[in-house]
């Protein structure tokens, strides 16, 4: 164990961050090469991701070990809370860029292309659109003919997924209450339900993507509608994937007897993150699917 300075835990020198950086570098280099058609690209990416995942195991493993050994006092706990809270804030700003792009094209730029007689005099501004030279948008969830795409309607899978995520927000809170009452059985039960809901959400999302891509001709190339649709739902889906993995990790930790009724930041951090992906989804449901 290291120095506890005035009670605040200061870790020993650690090899994990610098190895993590090399993993990130190799992944980035591989990604660039892959996008530009160089053969080693995918292999470098694979190697980089393996390094990243391995280091995450070791680094988080060490933090969990230190936490369970009881070296973190309340002040350290507060540092973690501030860290996670502001990390989520930065994630919100990341999504804000894509929501901003969506609002800008819907409110301004598509209108402007329709309003001008230059370049495309016949273009009529209407959302959804793939632009004056893109596929023509038809009614939602209908089979497109040649030169057409069909946007995604709100009241099929997206509505079901909304219900699933809202329910999972409630179940993770039930798990939290159980943890605070030291009811380990209910804690594991509700966490398992929450993780399962996450997996079901992702499965339905995957099905929806396949349906959109192959049957509705709604691809990333379907103009600015396809671009905003896939980037917004795609990054959200990635965050749900991360959240689900985090839920499964704290589920396993709960089964091992980790967390105390009065000290369980690892649990709360994941719960905050889960509520964050939930709220982002509500924005997506309203502005991407529904309105």
């Amino acid at each position: 164990m290291s120095t506890a300075n005035g009670g605040y835990y200061l870790p020993e020198p650690s090899p994990w961050p610098v190895i993590m950086s090399s993993g990130v570098f190799i992944t980035a280099l591989g990604f660039i090469l892959q996008m530009n058609g160089y053969a080693p690209g995918p292999w470098l990416m694979l190697a980089g991701v393996v390094i990243i995942v391995y280091i995450m195991f070791r680094w988080f493993g060490q933090v969990i070990g230190e936490s369970e050994a009881g070296v973190y006092n309340e002040q350290v706990d507060m540092s973690f809370r501030l860290g996670m809270g502001w990390f989520i804030f930065s994630e919100i700003m990341f999504f804000a860029a894509f929501f901003g792009a969506l609002f800008y094209v819907r409110v301004f730029s598509v209108e402007w292309i329709g309003a001008t007689d230059m370049l495309w005099p016949d273009f009529v501004a209407h959302w959804p659109t793939a632009g004056p030279e893109g596929l023509k948008a038809i009614a939602a969830d209908t089979e497109p003919g040649p030169g057409q795409f069909s946007p995604m309607g709100a009241w099929g899978i997206p509505a079901i997924n909304t219900a699933i995520l809202l329910t999972s927000g409630a179940t993770v809170t039930a798990a939290h209450w159980a943890l605070k009452k030291d009811d380990r059985g209910s804690l594991v039960f509700w966490l398992a339900i929450t993780s399962l809901l996450g997996v079901v959400f992702l499965s339905l999302q995957a099905y929806e993507y396949a349906h959109a891509w192959t049957e509705l001709d709604l691809t990333m190339s379907a103009g600015v509608y396809g671009a905003t649709f896939y980037l917004l739902t795609g990054f959200h889906g990635f965050h749900v994937t991360m959240g689900t993995i985090m839920l499964i990790v704290i589920l396993i930790r709960s089964m091992k007897g980790h967390f105390k009724p009065d000290q369980h930041f690892g649990f709360e951090g994941v719960a905050w993150y889960w509520h964050f992906v939930d709220v982002v989804w509500l924005g997506l449901f309203v502005f991407v699917y529904w309105l």
Binding site: P11, S21, F31
Partner: protein, 518 residues
Amino acid sequence: MSEAAHHHPTGLSRWLFTTNHKDIGTMYLVFAFMMAIIGGLMSLVIRAELFEPGLQLVDPNFFNQMTTVHALVMVFGFVMPAFVGLANWMIPLMIGAPDMALPRMNNWSFWLLPPAATLLIISLFVPGGGPAAGWTLYPPLSIQGGMGMDFTILTVHMLGISSILGSINIIATILNMRAPGMALMKMPLFVWTWLITAFLLLAAIPVFAGAVTMLLTDRHFGTQFFDAAGGGDPVLFQHIFWFFGHPEVYILVLPAFGVISQVIPTFARKPLFGYSSMVFATAAIAFLSFIVWAHHMYTVGMPVAGELFFMYATMLIAVPTGVKVFNWVATMWRGSMTFEAPMLFAIATVFTFTMGGVTGLMLALTPVDFQYHDTYFVVAHFHYVIVGGSVLGLFTAVYYWLPKWTGHMYSEVVGKWHFWLTMIGINLTFFPQHFSGLAGMPRRIPDYALQFAEFNMWSTYGAFLAVFSQLIFFYLVWKTVKGGEKATDQVWEGAEGLEWTVPSPAPYHTFETPPKVS
């Protein structure tokens, strides 16, 4: 005892694995000044080509790569990391904390930088060369460029992760690690400006990450965010970019404001005039920085209502900035001033930054900007702000705290030579650019009309003087690290604050038991 060995790993692994805020701060500063050398040499390529009209040294595409990479290196590789380095070194010392709140993450924040910089440098050597679209990366140029642009985009992502993690750490440290009695409104101004800067970073950097991600998918994955044929709009990128970009310029300069708010009271031997108004002015600048972005885009074809809103909002920034300048001057008023190198640099910062601020007000006027837009007037303006504000502020900080870091006094004579040659150099470089810009010389152009020849010649002389004067600075820092007159704990007669209560050089671990602040 093995604990001592534990705390001082030696050789390379000390620096690779360290979780110590002073080690990490030192690495940030060394990295930043290495980047400054690279970026400075690139600026000399630009100035050498512009010494005379006509194309003589480099081809235009390479010239554009130089302007682009010079800016990216200086903004993201030099100024930002240098101030994070100062934050790492000084914030725990100034608030009486044993270290940063999250030391392992702190190490990661730094060690993301060298690989990111490597990606950016590699981009210059790949087919098609480095990014040549300007640091603002506007589409469609940035979509048409070669794979160097992909290197740039991934560089931005890695630097972004580093900045976000660093900011989280700074916020957690300031809010959670202050010594008992160190109330928020007792914190040194440098700590305050960094707290607010960290909020700016957390709100702005992820938006930039989103913008370059859209560039990347437009380049390689078939999306049409910035293509009107698909319903998108290239101007959309400019809006998102400058939503990040304008707060970014305050990210560069607010910590410098903090530094000179420490230094001027020390050498005027008076408390800072208007402490709380300084804090609120900083917060007001930070808030306003998020609602003025489109003043970078007056000529893009915005609705008149937009032009007017952004013009008035921009001019409002002059109010809190004016409060700050007034307070610095009022602090000096009737003080017992002495003019050691940090004080010289601090006063110069106030002076040259204010000149950049005044040209900023000129550029804020929409109808006037229609004339100035994309001319050398803009180049002169932002170099007065960034070199005259941020970089001089950085030198202020280094001279001020170098004795605390090294335990030695630097040579005041050498420091003054560095100061005066730098001042002459940068003013000779950038002052004539106001005139060439007003006369209509466009920026980012390797060749120009004959009537601008004289201004450009002065500019080039100035740039070579300014860059080579920095050799004096590196010599001075090297000599001070190696030896010199022993520095006292307080170092400066008028210095106040917790960092001056610890020995010089500051021991590896400080404030292991928190000090009491009355």
